[in-house]
């Protein structure tokens, strides 16, 4: 028993604080006092393994103690008929058709990626795949929104203990590529975003969508007393110890070395057969429960699975297969080593399950069983080293932390328009946030599994432009499709977290609609600063309310998500960043619409109204103006316009479509010209300043290309829904020409546009 140490909690408060630091559990003094009271009722002191388990279970990462009150209050009280089982498990389940459901999960792997970009990002992919597999679903697509400081950041601006953003960016893409490609799941959507606020703490969000036959859905809970726990997959090692407690505090200049062991090591070639074996055993109805080992490792999975079934568990710790034989019991219990899954199995099915894992060359061992009483006990070579009430262990505290309103710089600003708007447009297209992401996208296999109907790059081979969303056709015998897109704009968020979050929702909906998909479900990854700072807590609550402002009105809700707080490093906090994954339903993938113009002589329509809302816009950032009004969102208008456009698309009236986002109308037109090398002539009217018309980022706007023969049906369709629109020109030649009051304001060849838009990331990243 010398490996297990008793920890005396009957000590002064100051000593409790030290104990939290010495054990690395991250528990606060108040929390330790609650734990002390629990153990004094038990008549003893906790052992180290028990305290460590509490540190995991009660971490921000595992129990959402700062966020759950607000999520419940604002975000989770919407319903949608297609939702089957949402929020409660590792992935949300939504109906696909009568026989199938899809599973959605979205998570952050921010801190590990800041310390060790390659391993951090790779294991992020590994973890999100397991979240989907543990519902019994076959992963079909990965998405990955990633956020960095600009790769051009001068070295002397990099604080001590921080890695250069170019290095982090490159390592993160390598990690996602090597894991996602090897495991054979296409990475089909995402975003690459740059903002100086990510200097000390990059954000790496990863999402996964899977498909499951409804009869194969399985939950993360045990079936009944006597069920056996089987741990399958890779060995348990010292990699990933204290991952969740490390994720639940700020990074500092020593994190780079001190927390290296909190980052796990990924092994996609263990994962790939592990997925096959788990799904095979599940399809044969041999499992009663399935859950992945993620944050907190064994300490979270066993207790949660047992309690979710209404039971308790007994574990024999010596049976866990290890990478290193000299690990301490508490290390084994909290290690977050990758590529591990936990199953509960009835005794009579045990042999058959083990045989399946043997066939796939995946280690699988029996580590314990389900008992009646809701307690968890652990034995090591017959000696009890752990014995706790499961409800006390897993429930965790809930806080309503103090908030303080932040003074925002979101008032109207005055600025002069540059003379050369053509040159300005090229500068916008050249900005890393607007420019082509194909340096990233092409490193990911976006077509493995051969189900990618619309890839993230669309147009002629080697001249492709960005798609607004990618479309997967998940089933062999059905033409139904799922569209996926991710979005958030930290520049808007920084100026105004409420309207920035609402704008993110608007953009996600716009993207889905642009490819012909009806918004069907959302997942959120809420990346914010330290919740113990009242300003950061206020930003969080503002953003949650901004999301809620839109989500209830468009027929789809949040079905899954993750909160990542403490995204602060030596260079300060990251901008509030609620990353949103939107999933849309297309009844027939053949009717999906793409970005590039398709032919000359077609009409170009601008749908929606352009307002003087320039705050956080790419244009103001480019000409060096701070502040301004962040675009507003009217969710009813959004829902209405979305319905009108989708109806027209069903009738094949819309030939191409693109939403207006960063860089406004001018950048959207440019991106539509690029894919097929077809130009446009556009005439702007009205009293609004031409630069605002060109570059405003007002929400709820799209461009549609329409054959002249469909003019009447297109216009009538929009009028029928009272959606504002304007025919602004036609596709023509190989130049983008924009006039205002018979004066030319933009005149660029498509070649020059393509050049400016294509090159930036290749030039800096090589």
């Amino acid at each position: 028993m010398s490996d297990v140490v008793e920890i005396d909690l009957n000590v002064p408060e100051g000593r409790l604080q030290e104990l939290s630091e010495e054990t690395g559990t991250g528990l606060s003094v108040e929390e330790l006092m609650v734990i002390r009271d629990y153990f004094s009722r038990e008549g003893r002191n906790p052992r180290d393994i028990e305290l460590q388990a509490l540190g995991q279970a009660w971490s921000e990462h595992c129990c959402y103690k700062s966020s759950k009150y607000y999520l419940k209050k604002y975000l989770f009280n919407f319903e949608a008929p297609q939702n089957l089982f949402v929020i409660k498990e590792d992935a949300g389940l939504v109906e696909f058709d009568d026989d199938h459901a899809y599973a959605v999960a979205l998570e952050s792997h921010n801190h590990p990626s800041a310390i060790e970009p390659y391993g951090g990002a790779a294991t992020g992919i590994g973890g999100i795949l397991r979240d989907v597999v543990c519902m019994g679903a076959q992963p079909i697509a990965l998405v990955d929104p990633i956020f960095f400081a600009p790769p051009t950041t001068p070295s002397d601006k990099i604080p001590k203990g921080v890695k250069h953003p170019k290095y982090i960016f490159s390592g993160v893409v390598d990690g996602i590529r090597d894991y996602g490609n090897r495991v054979g799941i296409p990475t089909i959507a995402g975003m690459t975003c740059f903002h100086e606020g990510y200097l000390g703490n990059c954000l790496v969000n990863v999402g996964c969508v899977g498909m499951v036959d409804k009869k194969d859905i399985i939950y993360s809970r045990v079936g009944g007393v006597g069920d056996i726990f089987i741990l399958a997959g890779g060995g348990t090692g010292r990699d990933g110890i204290h991952g969740v407690t490390f994720a639940s505090k700020e990074l500092d200049d020593e994190s780079q070395t001190a927390s290296r062991s909190a980052v796990q090591v990924g092994d996609p070639i263990m994962k790939e057969p592990l997925i096959h074996a788990c799904l095979e055993a599940n399809e044969k109805k041999l499992l009663t429960g399935l859950k992945d080992l993620g944050g907190g490792g064994l300490s979270c999975v066993v207790g949660e699975m047992a309690l979710a079934g209404g039971y308790g568990a007994v574990v024999d710790l010596e049976n866990v297969h290890l990478k290193e034989s000299d690990m301490l019991p508490w290390e084994i219990w909290v290690s977050e080593s990758q590529e591990r899954m936990m199953m509960s199995v009835r005794e009579e099915e045990l042999e058959e399950v083990l045989a399946i894992f043997k066939k796939w060359d995946v280690p699988a061992v029996i580590i314990g069983k389900v008992v009646e009483e809701k307690r968890l006990s652990i034995n090591l070579h017959g000696k009890k080293i752990f014995d706790m009430d499961l409800e006390f262990l897993t429930e965790g505290p809930m806080y309503k932390r103090p908030m303080k309103r932040v003074r925002l710089n979101n008032r109207e600003v005055e600025f002069e328009s540059p003379q050369d708007l053509s040159g300005t447009l090229l500068r916008l297209l050249n900005d890393y946030n607007c420019a082509c992401d194909d340096w990233v996208i092409r490193q990911y296999d976006f077509e493995v599994r051969a189900r990618t109907h619309c890839p993230p790059l669309v147009g002629r081979e080697n001249y492709e432009t960005h798609a607004d969303a990618s479309v997967i056709k998940p089933l062999e015998d059905s033409n139904k499709g799922l569209a996926m897109t991710t979005d958030v704009n930290p520049h808007l968020m920084k100026l105004d977290p409420f309207w920035g979050a609402a704008s993110a929702m608007d953009e996600v909906v716009r993207n889905l609609v642009a490819v012909g998909a009806r918004p069907h479900s959302f997942a959120d990854c809420l990346n914010f600063g330290n919740p113990e700072k009242p300003e950061k807590m206020w930003e969080f609550v503002q953003a949650v309310q901004g999301l809620a402002h839109v989500v209830g009105k468009i027929g789809a809700t949040f079905v899954s998500g993750n909160v990542s707080l403490y995204n602060e490093g030596p260079a300060g906090a990251c901008p509030p960043t609620p990353g949103i994954l939107g999933i849309g339903m297309i009844e027939d993938v053949e009717k999906a619409v793409s970005t590039p113009f398709k032919g000359e002589g077609n009409l170009i329509y601008l749908i929606g109204s352009t307002k003087d809302e320039m705050g956080g816009s790419l244009y103001l950032r480019t000409i060096g103006v701070e502040g301004g009004i962040v675009p507003r969102v009217n969710p009813y208008e959004l829902s209405n316009a979305a319905s009108a456009i989708l109806e027209l698309m069903k009738k094949d009236i819309v030939i191409s479509c693109h939403d207006l986002s960063e860089g406004g109308l001018a950048c959207a037109l440019a991106e539509m010209c690029i894919g097929n090398g077809i130009g446009a002539k556009v005439i702007l009217e009205g009293a609004m300043r031409p630069d605002i018309q060109l570059f405003s980022e007002s929400n709820t706007r799209w461009i549609c290309e329409v054959d002249p023969k469909d003019r009447a049906s297109f216009e009538d369709g929009l009028r029928g829904h009272q959606v504002s629109f304007k025919n602004i020109g036609a596709t023509k030649g190989n130049e983008l020409i924009i006039e205002k009051g018979s004066k030319g304001i933009i005149d660029l060849s498509v070649e020059a546009i393509t050049e400016a838009w294509q090159r930036p990331l290749w030039e800096i990243m090589g």
Binding site: R177, N181, R182, V183, G184, P268, I269, M270, E272, P273, K359, W360, D361, I441, R442, Q443, Y444, D445, F446, E447, V448, R449, A450, R460, E461, N462, E476
Partner: protein, 258 residues
């Protein structure tokens, strides 16, 4: 002898840890009415019941040594003699992407009849030193005996997606290239949107000399290509050809011969 019916054609789709394009190959044969079966190398018995062997793409065993090398060496230690007999009997063996790499590592490609199993080529790292996922244009070359392209006219173009980091076909001696050319073993070259085969990056995504995208052995029944026809089963060009033609051709080949 009666022509073999498509429904009786058994295709062995071989998998190990890290192969990950097997479902697409399976689906491609299934859609055409053939009878594909997944066989894990751990459960492999013999090729006796099969008329075709397909080695799918992916990252077999992680490709941590060299693409395809581990899978090839495990095949050598499992059923090498059986495989040589299978090839000798004229049964088709196809490898796509990682499967192509495996066939080259096995010495079955370029595969001259007198030196079967001698490794004289490799699929080396792309010139860009990166994994490249992009749609590539392929031109069918003057290779008439290839079992997998019999229904595709010489000079025809296909759009087929590529996705690999190691696709540059290097041969140990330039004479091997000349022999392949003379024997009609060069099946596909990368081309540009005007059909030219004298092209560079990005039309040729990996820097393969002579823009070679796919080859067959001297006899024509072993075939490998880097791009993925199983991913472009439905996407047709103006003449109605898509990746499907590869699978139709091999089914037709088997039907005519066995």
């Amino acid at each position: 002898m009666n022509k073999m019916e498509t429904k009786d054609i058994n295709v062995c789709v071989l998998r190990i840890e890290g192969t990950n394009n097997e479902q697409e190959i399976y689906d491609s044969f299934k859609r055409l009415g053939a009878n594909p079966r997944f066989v894990h190398l751990n459960e492999f018995r013999s090729l006796e019941d099969f008329q075709c062997l397909m080695i799918p793409g992916g990252f077999s065993s992680g490709d941590y040594i060299r693409a395809g090398a581990i899978f090839a060496s495990r095949i050598r230690s499992t059923f090498w003699d059986g495989l040589l007999e299978f090839v000798k009997a004229g049964y088709p063996v196809g490898g796509i992407c990682n499967g192509f790499q495996v066939l080259v590592e096995l010495g079955l490609l370029p595969g001259f009849s007198r030196s079967q199993g001698k490794v004289n080529a490799c699929l080396s790292r792309n010139d860009s030193a990166r994994f490249e996922c992009r749609h590539t244009l392929l031109k069918k070359m003057d290779s008439r005996k290839c079992a997998f392209t019999g229904l595709l006219p010489v000079g025809e173009q296909l759009v087929v997606p590529s996705a690999h980091a190691e696709g540059k076909l290097l041969v140990s001696d330039e004479k091997i290239y000349e022999r392949m050319l003379k024997n009609g073993q060069i099946v596909f070259k990368y081309c540009d949107d005007k059909g030219g085969v004298d092209v560079g990056y990005p039309w040729n995504p990996n820097g393969s000399p002579h823009n070679i995208a796919g080859i067959c052995n001297e006899k024509g029944n072993v075939f490998g290509m880097m791009p993925h026809p199983e991913r472009s089963f439905y996407k047709e060009n103006e003449n109605g050809f898509s990746g499907k033609v590869i699978f139709e051709s091999v089914i037709n080949y088997i039907g005519e011969r066995f």
